[in-house]
């Protein structure tokens, strides 16, 4: 099994390579099937790793590397030895499972969903390349492979967001997504520089060991941590670098499902978890992460309340849910962050894929106020979507999200300023219930507010949705609170990530009850407010402050992007044109021209004058020679 590790990220890469080399020779449908097959190979291999692993007993060794395969030596210069290799440990195994399985389901769904779209081969090329990027990011043994995966994901995200490139705005959104995440990439690159300068190694296990040895100066560690946080918030669309994600919804819905919900945006969370030994030593940074997480969870949920574009609701909800994962990382509950990541991947992929179908059914209409009444026409979709929405709302006891999110909210209480963090998280949870049910009710209940084109879903589309819906409900039961059910995940991960601190006794119960209440109140409010909003044509969707997401995007345009343009203009016009060309270069040429004019005036073309010059020159030369031969001695 160990020798086949390379095939896990390798298979999608082969698929991508095949499509770009020979894709034009075969039909697009075959390309699509082959792409899905390649991801299936990865998924199967990952599952077989699980099977093999669960057969073994020694899974409690701390930080155990379960599988390791060296690929090749990339470069080796002095200390800088980069031997690319793949590693599987418990954390990466979970991420690999999510990426490959959800990835496969989305590929499967896409075969029919993207049928006969223009640029189908391009779509599957980038999708396969993306899976390769994600898997190599997750399985990276060193920072270079990690960075490679990280960047490949960014590129694929760009290409797929701008998939319908003929609309200028879509192309712009793709660019925005890439550039904003690239800010994070820069931070990650600088972090690699700092890490190498301090650790003289870029292999992740060695870095972890060195951090544990506590020999690195804390200022460098803080710097590295800060840079990693910037990288993570850019990639995971956390406040204040979240601005790209709502705009990234211009890609096909399946892309949003895969990249902007299930996998790429969670890469930031994974990065922070990877470096958890570092953050364990830096409580201040942990507090910052927790604060960013809770703030984002609250902020994005509030923004999602008044969105009317179906996909933007989902986008903001993704930002918000990842905020909870950040909060979990910030309080040291890494296991719960991963748990919520899995759950979120399931239900958010489900919601995004369904939203693609919904939008097609309404003939590319994104505005939920113009939808409605889809429930009767497409009952299958209705129940699937209901499950997704309820899981998003974290309906207590039934849905998986309840088991993953509520412990995070409880855990935030253990951090400094825990009360505020918990309050933010709880308010976020309340609004989550509200907006998710508002979205569901607006689409499926009531009467159609615009024409519905029934969209026949094939079995290839229904199957992934069913599987994801099933998982959205059941996957929560692998980790239940208070030991009243199975507790599989967190103890299993404890050898790598440690056990999270949870509040005890009355506080725990109180927060949990509050969480349940928040979710239920949110759902209830939605059932009360949504019909009113539809009736009066006035409601949550009209709150401009929330609809514009606190005007963060506009503010960043005004305070960051515009000054950047001004800076560019300053360089181009003022420094380059005025200072360099008009002042410096012109003054030099001016001087040369003046000199040239005065010299050329002496050359009047009068031969007699030249003759005089010659004579005087000859006499002068003669005098000089005589003087040197017979020096005058004073």
């Amino acid at each position: 099994m160990n020798s086949l590790i390379w095939l896990i990220p390798g298979a999608p890469l082969i698929g991508a390579g095949f499509i770009i080399l020979f894709g034009s020779l075969i039909s697009a449908q075959i390309c699509a099937r082959m792409a899905a097959l390649m991801v299936l190979i990865s998924a199967t291999l990952v599952l077989s790793l699980w099977v093999e692993l669960l057969g073994q007993a020694n899974t409690t060794v701390p930080n155990a590397i379960l599988y390791h395969q060296a690929l090749f030596s990339w470069m080796s210069i002095g200390d800088w030895k980069v031997d690319l290799s793949l590693t599987v440990d418990k954390i990466s195994l979970i991420m690999m499972t999510v990426a490959s399985s959800v990835g496969f389901l989305i590929h499967l769904f896409s075969i029919n969903f993207m049928k006969d779209e223009q640029g189908e081969r391009r779509y599957f090329f980038y999708l396969n390349l993306f899976i390769f990027g994600m898997l190599s990011f997750v399985m990276a043994h060193d920072l270079i492979l990690l960075y490679l995966g990280w960047e490949v994901m960014g590129l694929c995200s760009y290409a797929l967001v701008a998939f319908y490139y003929q609309k200028s705005h879509y192309a712009y959104c793709g660019r925005k997504a890439f550039v904003v995440t690239r800010i994070g990439d820069t931070a990650l690159a600088i972090a690699i520089m700092v890490i190498f300068a301090n650790f003289h190694s870029i292999e992740l296990p060695q870095i972890a060991t060195l951090i544990d040895a506590q020999q690195i100066n804390p200022i460098s560690l803080t710097l590295i941590g800060g840079l990693l946080i910037i990288a993570a918030i850019a990639k995971s669309a956390q406040f204040p670098l979240h601005v790209w994600l709502p705009d990234a919804m211009t890609g096909p819905s399946t892309v949003s499902a895969l990249i902007h919900a299930a996998t790429m945006v969670t890469a930031g969370v994974y990065l922070l978890i990877r470096f958890h030994p570092l953050f364990d030593q830096l409580p201040d940074l942990q507090l910052i992460i927790a604060f960013i997480g809770c703030l984002t969870a609250f902020f994005a949920a509030s923004a999602a309340l008044s969105q009317n574009d179906l996909k933007k609701i989902l986008a903001y909800s993704t930002i918000s849910q990842i905020g909870y994962m950040f909060a979990a990382v910030g309080v040291g509950a890494y296991g719960f962050a991963l748990f919520h990541l899995i759950v979120h991947a399931c239900f958010k992929a489900l919601l995004f894929m369904s939203s693609g179908v919904i939008i097609k059914a309404y003939n590319e209409e994104h505005d939920i106020r113009k939808m409605g009444g889809l429930g009767q026409k497409m009952p299958f979709l209705r129940y699937i979507y209901l499950i997704g929405s309820l899981t998003l709302a974290a309906l207590p006891f039934v849905t998986a999200s309840y088991y993953s999110k509520d412990p995070i909210i409880a855990a935030t209480y253990t951090q400094d300023f825990g009360f505020y963090l918990t309050a933010l998280a709880l308010l976020g949870a309340l609004m989550t219930g509200l907006y998710s049910m508002r979205m569901y009710l607006m689409i499926f209940s009531g009467t159609p507010r615009s024409e519905i084109h029934p969209y026949a879903m094939s079995i290839g589309m229904k199957l992934p949705l069913t599987i994801l819906a099933f998982l959205s409900i059941t996957i929560g039961f692998i980790q239940t609170p208070w030991s009243w059910g199975p507790e599989l995940l967190i103890p299993w991960l404890a050898s790598d990530l440690g056990l999270p601190h949870l509040p005890h006794g009355a506080i725990d119960v109180t927060i949990n009850l509050l969480g349940i209440a928040a979710s239920l109140i949110g759902i209830g409010l939605a059932c009360y407010l949504t019909p009113k909003e539809l009736k009066h044509q006035q409601g949550l969707g009209n709150v401009a402050f929330l609809n514009q997401a606190w005007y963060i995007d506009a503010l960043s345009m005004k305070w960051i992007v515009t000054p950047y343009y001004y800076l560019c203009s300053l360089c181009r016009v003022f420094i380059e044109k005025v200072v360099f060309f008009h002042v410096i270069e012109s003054s030099i040429t001016g001087m040369l021209i003046t000199g040239h004019r005065s010299l050329s005036r002496s050359q009047a073309g009068l031969i007699t004058r030249y003759l005089y010059f010659i004579c005087f020159g000859a006499i002068g030369l003669l005098a000089y020679i005589l003087m040197t031969i017979y020096p005058i001695h004073a």
């Binding site: 960047e151 820069t186 690159a189 690699i192």
Partner: protein
Amino acid sequence: MLNTIIFTPFIAAIVIAIFAHQKNGIARIASLSICTLTFFFILGIAFSLSDIISTVTVSRPWIQSLGITYQLALDGFSLVMILVSTFIAMMSVLVAWQSIHRWDIFGPLLLMTLSGLLGVFLARDMILFYVFWEVMLIPLYFMLTQWGSQQSHHAATRFLLYTITASLFMLIGIICLYIQVGRDTGVYSFAFTHLLAAPLSDNSLWIFLALFIGFAVKVPLFPLHLWAPDTYKEAHPAVTILLSGAMANAGVYGILRICTFVSPLSLTTLSNTIMGLAATGAIYTGLIAYQQNNLRSVAAYSSISHMNLAIMAIFAMQLQAINGSMLQLVAHALSITGIFAIIAMLAARGFDGELDEMGGLFKPMPKLGAMLLFFFIASAGLPGLGNFASEILILVGSYQTSPLWAAFAAISIVIGIAYFLRCYERAMLGPIITSSIEPDNKTHTHLSDLHWREMTLLSLLVIAILWLGISPDTFLQPLHNAVTHIIEYNVNALRGH
């Protein structure tokens, strides 16, 4: 053997100029085959030299009274450089294939430049180096003036003035170095083995600066870059490929081969300043590139931006950084050649690079669009492709010497992607600008996708870039000795002080 490498293109240039007069087709094929031949010859040498430490040398007296010798030598660094230069020349011929109509002039000029370039990389005598340096520059001037846009005369004059001035600085530097070393040792000789054997005793800063400015203009280092954007933009893309892909390399090569040995102390003194200048230059040109409305200008500024990083790395005087700097020469040459090759292909389809006139071209030309994206992201440093390998080395290495400037230069990662994507978006994405495909508009009727010759050309570049990105060790291995030599020399010289 080394004489063969240098003079094959030179003699071929003369032969073509005389015998293929007015015979366009023959001259074209001859030029390509000479470039290819030289390339494979060098490749053969690269494979046959199992042990790169054993260098091949040629040494004959030339002007004995002045201590000028005719010395050539091949080491790993030179080998990589001549290999890349010949490859670039080959690409340049292919790029110019259809758009040049006077191959009986263009071909010889190109081969002459190539010959000069190869000479620069192989010469081991200052005067010989200088002679080859000029041989390489002069044909370029004619190529600039004869083939290019309407404004190319102006740009070519500026190019010539800057270059000649820089050469003057270099010459002064060389002569002062010669005299200074002569005074120090009592032996007057222009051979590298003599001039660059030990650090200078005094006046070193001025000599160092004169030589450095001579090379830096060619690179071009900020703020000596003023000639470059216009020249790159107005010249025929095939000429720009030679300029930015091969000629700029000669500048960095000169700094690495000569300046680092002249005066380690001055290098250390200036280290912070020049690293700052170069980092600022990388960012500054990146910012300017963001606002350009011509594909060529964007490529030009990006080229300057990348070459500035290479200079920064040299002045970090650090193992990884120097390796990165040398690798950057290769990587940058390949990616910028790709971009300008595509610019030439767009020009053949009636687009002279103005972004306002393009838009939505991905639709009619998906292969071209995909290729352009590839070269853009390669230039922007996507991991797995050539530039990443060199840039991460440069940044990681420079950080050890100067965290501030390295971190500052790292911002070019995000700036780079910003201007490339903006440019790509305006050229390739969005709605098709209708004026560009109207059938009655004669210049734009030919919107066909890449044909086999263009596809071959670009595929070669893609393979080279991927190879460099995935296995940079094949290029780093031959460089190893040269880098170690530079570092050890500098470290020892500074320890002596």
